[in-house]
Subunit: 348 residues, 2 copies
Amino acid sequence: MRATYMYGAGDVRVVDAADPKIEQPTDALVRVVRACVCGSDLHPYHSMPPSAEGTPMGHEFVGVVEEVGAEVTSVRAGDFVIAPFAVSCGACEFCRAGLQTSCVRGGFWSDPGIGTAGGQAEAVRVPLADGTLVRVPVDEGADDALLASLLTLSDVYGTGWHAAVTGGVTEGSTVTVIGDGAVGLLAVLSARQLGAERIVLMGRHRARTDLGREFGATDVVAERGAEGIERVRDLTAGGSAIVLEAVGHMPAYEQAVGVVRPGGVISRVGVPQYEEAPVGFASLFGPNVTLTGGPAPVRAYIDRLLPAVLDGTVRPGRVFDRTVSLEETPKGYAAMDAREALKAMIRP
Amino acid sequence: MRATYMYGAGDVRVVDAADPKIEQPTDALVRVVRACVCGSDLHPYHSMPPSAEGTPMGHEFVGVVEEVGAEVTSVRAGDFVIAPFAVSCGACEFCRAGLQTSCVRGGFWSDPGIGTAGGQAEAVRVPLADGTLVRVPVDEGADDALLASLLTLSDVYGTGWHAAVTGGVTEGSTVTVIGDGAVGLLAVLSARQLGAERIVLMGRHRARTDLGREFGATDVVAERGAEGIERVRDLTAGGSAIVLEAVGHMPAYEQAVGVVRPGGVISRVGVPQYEEAPVGFASLFGPNVTLTGGPAPVRAYIDRLLPAVLDGTVRPGRVFDRTVSLEETPKGYAAMDAREALKAMIRP
């Protein structure tokens, strides 16, 4: 089959790869119907050291089950499924608690221990299929907009939702969202769904922030740095009680610390591109600010989010503004990297 | 009057100072009945640069009101009062929300803007007396043990309580407390009061951890570093859902990260002696660990904690194992620094 590998920063290629097949009785084989490029794929796109063997890419896809191992009971050949960005067993303490990203048997698609390739490919062997996949009552002939929205449930919508949930958004909340990428925009949508009254979106790409307004942002702040912080603090009368950080770079963290209100919460879902950050008296400790978030257990949220997607009440798939074929996947990366595309969908 | 000043690391002196007097109509003048040395006073004791003018010390005291300004209504001359370690107005948004340490008009005793000296003195001018002081129906002739326990409500008991509350301790919780100083031990007591079932205390001073057991610790881990982490992870079947960090040094933070369970909470109340710390994928983000805590708004907790202190159900004052006169205050610092004393009380 054809599959996408990254061989170093800026070096994405679609190559011939071994056809996946059932290896464990708990596996399922899924033919990919839609996949996409994630904002987090841009981090290695900027920094991956060169390698000859490459790394399989892609952790977001929906598809049709082609075959299942002998022990798989929840899906069968022909089922349309959403594959969350983490593999999870569904049975361990963490899966039962809704923290599938900490599953003791699972992991991320490209983890060596998971032993499967990425979703930017024609097909994927899905380990722990019962715990990982979610069957959805549609078929691959469903309309493009619906498929796009279902695809967001594999990562970006669930990730935006996780930000809002761990940030404690509730009826009447004031929320600031940092980042106008797909996750930031879907954090806006999620905050709105959870009842937030005031949603300030920090972002400076007009087309994106316009979509953010449609998703529920009440204010947009295009400024960054000290100026952006001052604007948000003005708009929120001294700081935002809840800040959702959907970028992952240090300046975004610093923005979050700058705009959060004493006693407030910073919820991070952008994958941190730093290990150390300010947390001492002058940043988090002094004003009793809580830092929370992490990789979203999107598997835990799909049941909650699916109905409004299926009935069209929400259309998170609007974050896709570019569609490429599998062979054109490198163009999808390049377009997102150049910010010509917000999020690129791949149609194998 | 006589008052305690620090002139640099290790250099604490009791000196003649101007008698405090009412300066604002919202002030009260309090004669100190008991004060004490805080674990956090040891941080400048180790690191303060030398200065000729010195810094007034002490932020924990109980005493008797001698005089009040014209606008003070909640206390009057003769009242016995507890002075929390932060000055607060009682009226602003943060005070009303129970976050008096972020009061927009208040501050800490030694903040230049607060304009008053510290509590390790014969008397203190208390700004914003109505919002700051808590009247208690006892008199200075009350027994020593009760006065000691009331004194803990000015800081260490409320701080341990804050750790437990912001950590989310509830009926049946498993909690690990890092640090066997007064705050750590009172975090144990607080966790027990809030219903924690399993309380692991990390500390290696036998007399202190014995008191920790009396306060409710079910296990004591004396080991530190990797060995201590492994012991706690064994005891808690893979990590503690709640970790209360009551030290403030980087190794304690690292212990907290090492023993916390995926999806768990680290609540810090030890004043951080670092500004940057690990918070990225490998520490907090990957396992969805929440970092919370900060300076305790002890003013918010006194009403809740006072009854059990007054009726003797709890005896947090047991953390004091040394009493000195005001003139001997430098000896109190030295004894705590040498770990010969857990916490030194000052009887002016």
